[in-house]
């Protein structure tokens, strides 16, 4: 059946698959959000041990999902991979550094003779959870605001933005209020998810004071996220977008993303339903005393993420637009791999349900019992 798919179907399918992976990553940033909560909600060594050991059992999932996201984009949209990673060099390098320092922090933090001290590794976790997520949000924001690059006949990228004669190679994304707002929203949303996850995963009677602080942090993070969310949503609805006509010519189109929502009503449903689910999850955790808020909020984040990633790619829209040279903008049709490669990758993707099944099974096995003092304070614990 897959071999009968036409090229356009495969291109669209692969953007959806990449978006699903990206949206799942946004859900899994509960690990990053939880890391930024460590110093806020854990006031004793025991409480810190609870938080770190709960997150430490999951830290590899967002990390691996990010790697998969990169690999999937490389395989299916290599022109995006080369243009964005090679062009916006400094943004991606800084994001990667925040993940490099995360990878050792859980394992080394409490180990004897770790040289740099537990606080250093906790700072690494905080940087990963805050700066890392903020920059990822800013990078995704450029799907809407565009980047200053051009491509030559051989599709080689030249980054054009300079400030005082210095080429900022992507750091200029942080000068956009929209990009910053999206990044900050993701940071606060990750904190919301982190708090909800910890409420769900910890043996709360063992740390009653921390439970209260978690619920407060959940609510305050949610409140902080609202102005950024509001700005992002309103801006998406009102801003000009990068439209592509049937000849592949890119031009600025007023209310492009608003029209995309009307043309693709399932994305509108994802956005509204996703936001409602996140709010429901927050209310469950912050106001109803429930520990199950992570599930609706997590699903809601996935749905919102899918909308954010698909909205600038479909209905004749350039997903990685160039503000310097509109005709260099990338669409899912001019940036993708060949039909053959996409077809091979689609066969490979048939194994994704198996992958998800065993991850969920293992997760259930490990989380059937809450993280207790015995787990957190074990001499081999994180």
């Amino acid at each position: 059946m897959i071999s009968n798919f036409d090229y356009v179907t495969l291109q669209q399918l692969w953007w959806v698959i990449c978006s699903i992976v990206g949206a799942l990553f946004l859900f899994l940033t509960f690990v990053q959000g939880g890391q930024t909560l460590l110093w806020q909600v854990a006031k004793t060594d025991t409480e810190s041990a609870f938080v770190v050991n709960s997150l430490g059992r999951k830290w590899e999932l967002p990390f691996t999902t990010l790697v998969l996201f990169g690999g999937a984009l490389f395989a299916s949209f290599p022109k995006f991979y080369s243009t964005s990673f090679g062009g916006a060099y400094w943004v991606w390098i800084l994001i990667l550094f925040t993940f490099i320092i995360q990878a050792v922090s859980y394992e080394y933090r409490k180990k004897a003779a770790n040289v740099w001290g537990a606080k250093t590794y906790e700072l690494f976790l905080f940087i990963n959870g805050s700066v890392g997520v903020l920059l990822i949000g800013a990078a995704v924001g450029t799907f809407y605001t565009g980047s200053a690059f051009s491509l030559n006949d051989m599709n080689q990228v030249t980054w054009q933005y300079t400030l005082g004669g210095i080429n900022l190679r992507g750091l200029e994304a942080a000068f956009s209020l929209f990009n910053l707002s999206l990044g900050l929203f993701l940071v606060f949303n990750a904190r919301v998810l982190g708090a909800l996850y910890l409420l769900n995963n910890l043996d709360l009677p063992a740390v009653p004071d921390m439970e209260e602080r978690l619920r407060k942090a959940l609510w305050s993070s949610f409140i902080c996220s609202l102005p950024f969310l509001l700005y992002v949503v309103v801006s998406i609805l009102l801003r000009k977008g990068f439209g592509v006509d049937e000849n592949g010519v890119v031009s600025m189109v007023s209310f492009k993303y608003l029209f995309n929502l009307f043309a693709l009503p399932h994305l509108l449903l994802f956005l509204l339903g996703g936001l409602a689910l996140v709010i429901w999850g927050v209310l469950l955790g912050a106001k109803k005393g429930s520990n199950r808020g992570i599930w609706p909020a997590g699903l809601g984040t996935v749905l919102v993420g899918l909308c954010v990633l698909c909205l600038p790619a479909f209905n004749g829209t350039a997903f990685y637009p160039s503000s310097f040279d509109l005709q260099s903008s990338l669409t899912i049709y001019n940036a993708s791999s060949s039909r053959y490669t996409l077809m091979v990758m689609t066969y490979v993707a048939l194994f994704i349900p198996v992958l998800l099944a065993y991850i969920i099974y293992l997760w259930q096995q490990m989380d059937s019992k809450k993280i207790t003092a015995e787990d957190a304070l074990d001499h081999e614990a994180y």
Binding site: L68, G71, P78, F85, W90, V104, A113, S338
Partner: protein, 510 residues
């Protein structure tokens, strides 16, 4: 032609080499130690002897410390293809990206998901399922090696693809050819088995330290028995796969083989240089002797390269300047053809832009004649096709010399351990103590042989490294190089310190 700053190319190369070599300190230990942990735990599962559980948990702790820094240094490699080699990413992403994506999908998730059970599941899952999880981590680690080496093998021997002049990139035509590329197969078997040797040597080193100090003697002996069997089998297999890998190099990358052997003038019945000192003033085409001193094994190189004693093995001069008698086309000729291909490609693109179909068809027909030499069109001189001979020769010979010692070392440890006298062999224990370090040198030397020997190509014969780079400023890459050097070194200091402390604590804490 593309105008590239040579210092940018060198710094980009240096950054990738630095990050890859750092990563490669930890990965071979992970590849093998994961299986050793699985062996130890399986024995525990079968015998129910708690001593084996303590042994398993001790080695698992060291595995975890090593694994964390391996992951930290690994994430950057995938993304560096995009950040520092964006032209490469575009031109070969259609083929090269797929193995990386599959690696993430099948290997990393397997590893990451079962890793949590392996470390924190002792009291949460059954003994059997825990042991199964440890095996899954080992299989996941090695599956990741499969896919990254499929990608790397394709760089050494690009198969299963065709150049698309419309998109100006290489596109996959046959996935099975990419996966079962003979270079990829020999690379995987050689590399993974060398990882098993590395991990066995790592266990041997630490166990010997305990035996010398008279601490944890029973645990050390038990660890040595399993590690010596694994190491002996793996090191013999490494020899076999090394021979196969060298044969594939001879067939697909004759310049690399010539550099590995310091062979400038090709000959029939060529011998292998068992040891030698290269003349570092020797350049291709001159009349100087390539060696100041050498000991040769006659006929052996012809046998290794072509499976035939009297066969011709081309030297660097034959490959650079051609040898009509032996039907070897020189780089100088290939450069001419390559330049014609690039000119015709540019003419094709221009005609396409001008919507002149007949001119485009004519240019494409001319391009097709010479397209397989396209990469040579980017070279400035024929000598540019020669990798750094001294570095490749010395690395290869260091790797081979160390590799031939390991079966003897593991064999001796196995023999005396089974005899029950290993702790009394005071002459043997210091050898075991340094085996880990020697294995680490062999690993790094092997990597240098494979990747420096590939130079100047990013994709063998098709794309030189110098046109694969992102057009960054040299300063940007110098800054990120310094950042990587600083961060990785700080992490390495912590890793070594933690590892030494855990070794000092020993298995009693488990």
């Amino acid at each position: 032609m593309i105008d590239v700053d040579p210092s940018l190319v060198d710094w980009s190369r240096a950054q990738f080499a630095f990050t890859a070599m750092y990563h490669w300190i930890f990965v071979p230990i992970t590849l093998g130690l994961s299986f050793l942990c699985a062996f130890y735990e399986t024995i525990y599962l079968k015998t129910g002897n708690e001593e084996w559980k303590r042994i398993t948990r001790f080695w698992m702790t060291l595995f975890g410390i090593n694994f964390a820094i391996g992951v930290a240094t690994g994430i950057i490699l995938e993304f560096e293809f995009g950040t520092n080699w964006s032209n490469y990413s575009w031109m070969v992403g259609d083929i090269f990206g797929a193995p990386l994506a599959i690696e993430g999908l099948f290997a990393f998730f397997l590893e990451a998901s079962f890793f949590a059970v392996m470390f924190f599941g002792w009291n949460r899952v059954s003994k059997g399922f825990h042991c199964f999880s440890t095996w899954m981590v080992a299989i996941g680690s090695n599956l990741s090696a499969v896919w990254i080496l499929v990608a790397n093998g394709w760089m050494q021997n690009p198969v299963g693809m065709a150049f698309n002049p419309d998109t100006a990139r290489f596109e996959m035509q046959n996935f099975a050819e990419v996966v079962f590329n003979p270079i990829a197969v020999s690379k995987f078997t050689h590399t993974s088995s060398s990882g098993f040797v590395m991990a066995s040597a790592f266990v041997l080193t630490i166990s010997c330290w305990y035996l010398i100090k008279g601490k944890h003697v029973d645990m050390a002996k038990k660890s040595i028995v399993v590690a010596s069997v694994f190491g002996l089998v793996a090191s013999c297999f490494v020899g076999f796969t090394g021979d196969e890998a060298a044969y594939e190099v001879a067939q697909k990358q004759p310049m690399k083989l010539a550099a590995m052997e310091g062979l400038y003038t090709g000959e029939r019945g060529a011998g292998i240089v068992a040891m030698g000192i290269l003349n570092d003033t020797k350049v291709p085409g001159d009349v100087q002797d390539a060696f100041l001193l050498k000991v040769k094994i006659p006929w052996a190189l012809s046998l290794l390269a072509n499976r035939e004693f009297g066969s011709f093995v081309p030297g660097i001069d034959d490959l650079v300047f051609g040898n009509a008698e032996e039907n070897v086309m020189g780089v100088n000729t290939m450069m001419e053809k390559g330049r014609m291909a690039l000119t015709d490609l540019a003419a094709f693109k221009l005609a396409k832009n001008n919507q002149d179909d007949s001119a485009a068809d004519a240019a494409l027909a001319r391009f097709d004649v010479n397209k397989k030499f396209m990469g040579y069109g980017y070279l400035d001189t024929p000598e540019e096709a020669v990798p750094p001979v001294g570095l490749v020769f010395n690395s290869f010979h260091l790797m081979a010399a160390l590799g031939s010692m390991f079966p003897v070392i593991f064999g001796a440890f196995l023999f005396f351990t089974l005899k029950g006298t290993v702790s009394e062999k005071r002459w043997l224990l210091p050898i075991g103590l340094f085996t880990g370090l020697l294995a680490l040198f062999a690993q790094q030397a092997g990597w240098v042989t494979a990747e420096v020997g590939r130079q100047p190509w990013a994709i063998q014969g098709l794309m030189p490294v110098k046109i694969a780079t992102t057009n960054l400023t040299t300063t940007s890459v110098q800054i990120t190089f310094a950042m990587f050097a600083a961060v990785f070194t700080l992490l390495l200091i912590a890793e070594i310190s933690i590892m030494l402390k855990q070794i000092a604590i020993g298995p009693e804490g488990h």
